[in-house]
Symmetry: C2
Subunit: 222 residues, 2 copies
């Protein structure tokens, strides 16, 4: 369902950083995989390329056989909003919107009817223990609470593919466990799940661990 | 060295949130303590009050016998810049400054001579594996790299007290281990260390675990 060919990413801000090189990856549908590796070795970079949030410097990303580079901007927007639910390492919440609006906005972009947006958003927040924070602004939340809002936003459009960049980094072991149960139940419903994580707890519940080192895949264990 | 009496914090943004209530805490000098507890239960709030970064709604914080509330703004600034090294949960790096400048600025505020500032900053970045990122901006770094810059900044003035809010949340187990070794060696040099963490690895190396639940201390095990 997700495939890359010789995927590469070089950043050039006056000095060159090769973040990814020659990544060949195949993710089967309905699988729950983890991406692990040392800090700074390319995990977030890889996830952003797979989610169509950034362009490769070389190589290609294919989703369901379609090359992301060949998509129209409408097709790409549709892919990013409806096919994939993306949780950012630092959440990317909108400061001026409430927690509820932050979650709802993803479904608004996907064209969901207003009333359904609100119902789904409220239910998701409840399932993540955030019901009483619905009217709060992101800067009024704790770190782990913001992280859970980011998860709610990624789930509201019921996407087929979930990409999560360190979704439990700010959570205590109980909250991590609860989120992991949620992820496993979504996997049980037929979603394809790709999680960048440093957590052995999360890795233990996945079906496959993809290890990255220096921008390359070094092993992909089952 | 750090003592609180009936410390409380209530946020009022149109709706009231009681984040901390009646916290009586005593931290002995030269100890390495962890603060643990569920997401949203008051850990960051407590650390900010102890570090003089926020004012209590009730109760007092005493550092070396001096009540923070009674300090002049000069004394408080001195306490925050030179007595305490603070690592924020989300780093609070300055986007327009380079990594090196972000670390240096803390020593500049403390009145360190320019040349010494730069030497110390470079050495700290090297010890944290960030030497090659000295001229990069924070938004060009990975999550774990930014976290380590925040640690370097907290250490540059060689403070007696280190307060760290989840310093390993974005680090892989090897990087976490290296940072923990650094923390333990600083402890060995006579520093007082207080770490909010969700990590059992970090907790295992501490001397005392202070547990928080619903804004109250529920136990303080050794
Ligand atoms: N916008 C950018 N400009 C320049 N370099 C960048 C940029 N974004 C990331 N990098 C660099 O690319 C490399 C890989 O970064 P990436 O964020 O993918 O790491 P990561 O594996 O997710 O790390 P972590 O576990 O710390 O989050 C790092 O060396 C980083 O400094
Ligand atoms: N500026 C604020 N305004 C209103 N409420 C706030 C504010 N900052 C924090 N809170 C609330 O205070 C409570 C405690 O927050 P705190 O950040 O101390 O939690 P925490 O234990 O550090 O959580 P985490 O482990 O998720 O980082 C939470 O319910 C949070 O929503
Ligand atoms: Mg990352
Ligand atoms: Mg916190």
């Amino acid at each position: 369902i997700i495939r890359t060919e010789k995927l590469g990413k070089v950043y050039d801000n006056g000095y060159r950083t090769c973040a990814l090189a020659e990544v060949d990856l195949e993710i089967e549908p309905y699988t729950f995989s983890c991406i692990m590796g040392p800090s700074g070795h390319g995990k977030s970079t890889l996830l952003h390329l797979l989610g169509g949030l950034d362009r490769p410097s070389s190589g290609d990303v294919y989703i369901n056989g379609a090359n992301l580079a060949g998509m129209t901007s409408d097709q790409l927007a549709d892919f990013r909003n409806r096919t994939v639910g993306f949780v950012f390492q630092f959440f990317n919440l909108i400061p001026v919107l409430s927690v509820l609006e932050n979650v709802q906005i993803a479904s608004m972009l996907a064209g969901m009817p207003d009333r359904e947006q609100k119902e789904r958003a409220v239910r998701l927040l409840e399932s993540l223990g955030l019901a009483e924070k619905a009217v709060a602004r992101p800067n009024q939340l704790s770190g782990g609470q913001r992280q859970r809002v980011a998860v709610a936003r990624a789930l509201i459009n019921d996407p087929d593919i979930l990409m999560m960049d360190e979704p439990t980094g700010n959570l205590d072991s109980t909250s991590e466990s609860e989120l992991l149960d949620l992820i496993c139940s979504l996997h049980g419903k037929g979603k394809t799940i790709l999680v960048v994580t440093h957590s052995e707890t999360v890795a233990a519940r996945s079906q496959r661990i993809i290890r990255i080192r220096d921008g390359r895949i070094v092993s992909a264990e089952i």
